[in-house]
């Protein structure tokens, strides 16, 4: 009898714990977003998103965050474009060109997993040594290169996941019609997986735009909008990080505004990704 009661109590207790931790997760997300909104909204104004910092900005005078917003967009876009030139062929290599060489494909996946686990600060340090070695100064270009290496495994993984699901029969019918590897890769697989590729790109874009550690060494920081690849650039996460460290309340509140803008960008990306992947499942050939 006692054992039975104990069993029921244990059952209930752990059920309660599981329910609580799941609810905690939802509450946590709401809590984080609400706090960022609550702190960011009051200091967010048109001036914030439309102007670059003016004189005395860092003492609480006029100006906005346009330099950081544009800088971040440039950086993430550049990195994603370079990343695409490497990640798309790589994921196609695993699923079309070398699909019969299981050992090689597994080796690539293994190396990618390894790269995926390396923290962004190590990529930052690596990018910095490369930069010194090549003799370029801290610049948009150096940042783009570092971030593109850092997001490479993320992109390939997302694309590979989708390309794995392309039915083998589809590949084989294309080959049986006399297509070359390249034609199958780009005209069949890449087209079939297009929404998936876009998802991977957006995911990587989100990662690239939000990361600090990789760009801390390589982009520098400036109040101007970069006009060439060799210019230094500000980024949103760096703006959050630097301004939060300021003792002046006005400047701190701008860090919250920057954090809010960054969060909104990330949320937007997440919504678009979700929408695309839903459409993908409707249109793809099963």
């Amino acid at each position: 009898m006692m054992r039975r009661i104990f069993k029921i109590i244990e059952e209930r207790f752990f059920y309660g714990l599981m329910l609580a931790s799941t609810a905690f997760l939802v509450a946590l997300l709401l809590f984080i977003v609400l706090i960022i909104l609550y702190k960011g909204l009051p200091s967010l104004s048109w001036e914030m998103v439309s102007q670059t910092p003016k004189g005395g900005y860092y003492f609480g005078r006029e100006g906005g965050l346009l330099n950081a917003i544009i800088g971040s967009l440039y950086l993430a876009t550049g990195a994603v474009v370079i990343g695409l030139f490497i990640s798309l062929p790589l994921s196609l290599a695993m699923n079309v060109y070398f699909r019969n060489n299981k050992k090689l494909v597994n080796a690539i996946r293994f190396v990618l997993d390894l790269l995926w686990g390396i923290p962004s600060i190590v990529y930052g340090a690596f990018g910095f040594t490369i930069m010194i070695y090549l003799g370029i100064k801290t610049s948009l270009l150096a940042g783009i290169i570092t971030v593109s290496i850092f997001i490479l495994p993320i992109m390939v993984r997302a694309m590979d996941e989708i390309m794995k699901q392309v039915p083998l029969t589809l590949l084989e019918s294309a080959f049986s019609l006399g297509s070359t590897n390249t034609e199958v890769a780009f005209k069949v697989v890449a087209r079939q997986c297009f929404p998936g590729i876009v998802t991977g790109v957006l995911l990587a874009f989100g990662r690239g735009i939000g990361d600090v550690a990789a760009v801390l060494f390589t982009t520098g920081y400036t109040d101007n909008i970069p006009t060439s690849l060799m210019d230094q650039t500000a980024t949103l996460p760096l703006a959050v990080f630097f301004q939060l460290g300021s003792p002046i309340p006005e400047v701190q509140s701008r860090a919250y505004a920057a954090a809010l803008i960054l969060t909104v960008i990330i949320l937007l990306i997440s919504v678009v990704t979700r929408f695309l992947s839903r459409r993908y499942y409707k249109t793809s050939i099963k």
Binding site: L25, P89, A255, L262
Partner: protein
């Protein structure tokens, strides 16, 4: 003629694919080699043993003891994992074995967005919420005084950042447990929780361990969010409510100064090398466990 153009196209893109392949295999070696090359200077002058276990940190005098940083990193990481482990485990079990389909559809974006939030945002949130919480509530509760900027705050923020990461892996792992086994246990009269405890958790135990090993390596390298709340004071912390100074924070905080002193530069690259080695080690470990698991099935 048309045929020839097709073949040429195939050659060119095939060549590019091969180039990319080579690049991906060279990249990790390149990272390792460049960090080794850069930290060679300090490893030769000080010796690895001294670097790892001395706690004297005076860069200007040329004394580099990484012990305070390593111990801070270990504390923050372990604390973060300990706090996050039960939450991830319970949520993953709930979502795979109790929750309805609608709940999983609802939770997927929640987890994805949590995973997508940049670490600097977690840092801001940590400064606003976790710091006062640790300083005014947690520390007095345990009988310490603290400003809030502490190992504890770092561990808490890290725990929250790790949740989506570990949770995703755990859900994947629980999905590989055959449903038949779970149902066989239920049909023998075991309750749901008993079946989970004795069948699901036991069966996927190596997987759970490897999920936490992956989380550990992620935690060890996390930089900005931890840096913003951990206090960044050099010294071996005596309790969890004292400030710490983990390795990634050390690298991030000193990037400006390192150029002027070659030895300092080399020291920071050595810190990056430690990070790389630790992270890769735990990654490899968990991969091998997962590969072993897949083979067994």
């Amino acid at each position: 003629m048309y045929l020839k153009a097709r073949k040429i196209k195939d050659r060119i893109s095939g060549g590019w694919v091969q180039l990319v392949l080579v690049f991906v295999f060279v990249l990790p070696l390149g990272i390792l080699a460049s960090l080794l090359y850069k930290s060679w200077l300090i490893m030769q002058t000080t010796g690895i043993g001294d670097l790892l276990f001395s706690s004297v940190w005076r860069p200007l005098a040329g004394e580099f003891g990484f012990f305070p940083f390593i111990i801070s990193s270990i504390w923050v990481t372990i604390l973060g994992l300990l706090i996050t482990a039960p939450i991830c485990l319970f949520t993953a079990i709930y979502l795979t074995y109790y929750g309805s389909n609608r709940l999983s559809v609802f939770m997927r974006p929640v987890i994805d967005i949590l995973a997508g939030i940049p670490s600097v945002i977690y840092g801001v949130w940590g400064v606003l919420i976790i710091i006062p919480f640790t300083g005014r509530f947690l520390a007095p509760l345990f009988g310490y005084e603290s400003t809030g900027f502490s190992i504890m705050a770092g561990g808490l923020v890290l725990a929250i950042m790790l949740i989506p990461f570990i949770l995703n892996i755990l859900i994947e792992i629980f999905r590989t447990v055959p449903v038949e086994q779970y149902e066989a246990s239920l049909s023998l009269g075991a309750t749901q929780w008993e079946s989970i405890k004795h069948v699901v958790v036991r069966r996927s135990f190596p997987g759970i361990v490897s999920a936490f090993a992956l989380g550990l390596s992620r935690a060890f390298g996390e930089t900005i969010a931890v840096l913003m709340v951990v206090g960044n004071v050099v010294g071996v912390p005596e309790n969890l409510f004292q400030p710490g100074y983990p390795l990634p924070a050390l690298i991030a905080n000193n990037y400006g100064e390192m150029l002027s002193i070659p030895m300092f530069d080399s020291a920071l690259m050595f810190a990056a090398l430690i990070l790389l080695v630790v992270v890769v080690f735990f990654n490899l470990l968990s991969r091998f466990v997962i590969i072993y698991l897949e083979k067994r099935q």
